[in-house]
């Protein structure tokens, strides 16, 4: 056990010092205790949810039987999936554009591209609300077309993140490979498909995961763009928390936390723990 080794602590082995370990431990406890408690109490057989009364799955049954909750979940996942696909395409193009070309007003374009990341969520939400109201964006369309406004808003704030990830990935690309391909007779498109795209792939995966979580996570912007029949999961949970705290919320939240963990595990499998650490 290296962790509890008896060797004397070297000056730079800060991690082996007791106060440092307790500090990290306390921080992790602070970060995780509320989440773990929430998950544990979703199995609690008590309506008031403060004292442990015994194990039950009935709140999961209730959550799954709650049609509007399930619908909100389906909406959220649909939006996240659509937003991810579009964000990856737009983000990859934007990333390549910034990485590869010199063009007039490039720094202005770069600045504008980073704006959706910097501008506060509330302002972007407001802008989307006014925009869709002003455009007379059709409402009451059949599913999934009624989700278009929310999806568009999500793509707007997701794709600059993908562009950043892709651009930093492309920085390690060796241009000579591309030149070699062209010398050997590949067309512009073939070079893109067979040389650039494979190099870009880890960036695309990281960007896609980022876009998916950002979209699934978003409450504020969705809150401003959603209508009465386009409720997403965070908006639904918000109204449940606001008006009546029920163990159903715990059950639904636990399902989403598990989804996050599964996504993280997928990312781990695809990129390894180091790869994930590096993309952030």
């Amino acid at each position: 056990m290296a962790l509890f080794g008896r060797q004397p602590i070297a000056p730079l082995e800060y991690t082996r010092k007791l106060w440092m370990r307790s500090w990290v431990g306390a921080t992790l406890l602070f970060l995780y205790a509320p989440l773990i408690l929430l998950m544990v109490f979703s199995f609690n057989d008590s309506k008031r949810n403060v004292v442990w009364k015994g194990f039950t799955l009935k709140y999961y049954e209730k959550a799954f039987a709650n049609e509007s909750l399930v619908e909100a979940m389906v909406n959220s996942l649909t939006i996240a999936l659509l937003a991810t696909v579009f964000s990856v395409i737009l983000g990859a193009l934007a990333g390549v554009m910034l990485w590869r070309f010199r063009f007039p007003m490039k720094s202005a374009v770069e600045g504008v591209m980073s704006l959706p990341i910097i501008v506060p969520e509330i302002c972007l939400g407001v802008a989307m609300l006014i925009f869709f109201a002003r455009m007379d964006w059709p409402t009451g369309l059949p599913w999934p077309l009624n989700l278009s406004a929310i999806t568009i808003a999500h793509i707007t704030f997701c794709f600059p993140f993908v562009a950043m990830v892709v651009r930093s990935r492309m920085a390690s690309f060796n241009r000579e490979q591309e030149e070699a391909a062209k010398d050997l007779g590949a067309s512009e498109w073939q070079t893109f498909r067979d040389i650039l795209l494979p190099h870009m792939k880890p960036g695309l995966i990281a960007g896609a995961l980022l876009a998916f979580t950002l979209s699934l996570d978003d409450f504020v912007i969705t809150f401003f763009t959603s209508g009465p029949d386009t409720i997403t999961f965070p908006v639904k949970v918000y109204s449940m928390v606001r008006f009546s705290v029920t163990p159903e919320v715990n059950a639904a939240s636990t399902i989403l936390i598990i989804l996050t963990i599964v996504l993280t595990a997928v990312a781990l499998k695809l990129q390894g723990v180091k790869g994930i650490a590096e993309t952030h």
Partner: protein, 305 residues
């Protein structure tokens, strides 16, 4: 050089193919909506659903009245406090990750990032559950109180009166704690990436030459990691300033922040032009912060030469 940029004029067709879609999207679904908000901020309500852009500055005048200005300043103060606490809590954590063994480092990073990926609303709700009137935070405090009371009887003093649960939620304290909880990972990750790039032999040299750990930290580590600290501060300060959800759910009547005021103009108060003006003031504040940061960055670069 392998990384040389291509001039767009020599590659017009691929350039057009790559550029058009993202630029189109950015203009239509970002710049145009933002432009409309900007125009609305110079408008006024002329009917229940009609807004006329008259070029008036009344909305801005109203926004700088003390009532709104004080909320603005309070949001800034809360965001600054949250950032400061995150820095104090996060710095040792980032140090610990930097100096952890190869095997542990990625897992510690993952442990910091996992909450960052978890839904914001769920995290806020989880914290609210913990801090409720009958939650575990109150029970823990109660147990400590009882312990103190028992200690007092041990030394022959009167025992303390019975523990009454304190109100931990729906006040300013809850908002600050909630924001720290949510933003801590934002701070740790840039701090870590700055500390990771640091030349560790400099720390060793400082320690060898007789400086203590604290002195080394203040004189070597902090100046060298300055840009990372500034980045962490920015990444925490900006979203904390525009926070909506935490003050809305965890705050009391006196702890609303600027985002809550903006939201009210668009939902209940239905005063879109005024809300638009407030939004743009918040955006200008954000720009000022970013400009300050880049000024600092360029000065640091000049100083290095």
């Amino acid at each position: 050089m392998a990384g040389a940029l291509q001039d767009w004029r020599q590659h017009k067709r691929p350039f057009a193919a790559i550029v058009s879609a993202p630029i189109f999207w950015l203009v239509l679904f970002f710049l145009v909506p933002m432009g409309i908000v900007w125009l609305y901020s110079f408008g006024q309500n002329v009917g229940p659903a009609a807004i006329e852009i008259t070029g008036t500055l009344d909305n801005y005048k109203r926004a700088t009245e003390w009532l709104y200005l004080s909320i603005f300043l309070k949001s800034l103060a809360v965001a600054a406090l949250v950032t400061f606490i995150c820095l104090i809590v996060g710095f040792p954590v980032a140090m610990a990750i930097t100096f952890a063994t190869e095997k542990w480092r990625p897992w510690l990073l993952l442990a910091i990032m996992l909450p960052f990926w978890t839904n914001l609303l769920i995290r806020t709700y989880a914290l609210m559950m913990l801090m409720g009137q009958n939650g575990y935070a109150n029970k823990g405090l109660g147990a400590m109180w009882d312990g103190a009371s028992w200690l007092r009887t041990l030394v022959g003093l009167q025992p303390l009166e019975a523990w009454t649960p304190v109100q931990l939620l729906y006040n300013n304290f809850a908002v600050v704690l909630g924001l720290v909880y949510v933003h801590l990972p934002f701070m740790v990750l840039p701090l870590y990436s700055a500390l990771d790039r640091l030349d560790k032999s400099l720390i060793e040299a400082s320690l060898d030459l007789g400086a203590g750990h604290f002195r080394t930290l203040m004189k070597i580590v902090v100046p060298l990691a300055g840009s990372g600290i500034a980045a962490g501060v920015m990444i925490t300060l900006i979203p904390a300033l525009g926070a909506y959800l935490t003050p809305d759910l965890m705050g009391g009547t006196d702890s609303q922040m600027i985002a809550n005021v903006i939201e009210r103009q668009f939902k209940r108060a239905n005063d879109w032009p005024f809300g638009a003006a407030l939004s743009f003031l918040l955006i200008y504040a954000m720009f000022a912060l970013v400009a300050l940061q880049s000024l600092r960055g360029s000065r640091a670069k000049v100083g290095a030469h």
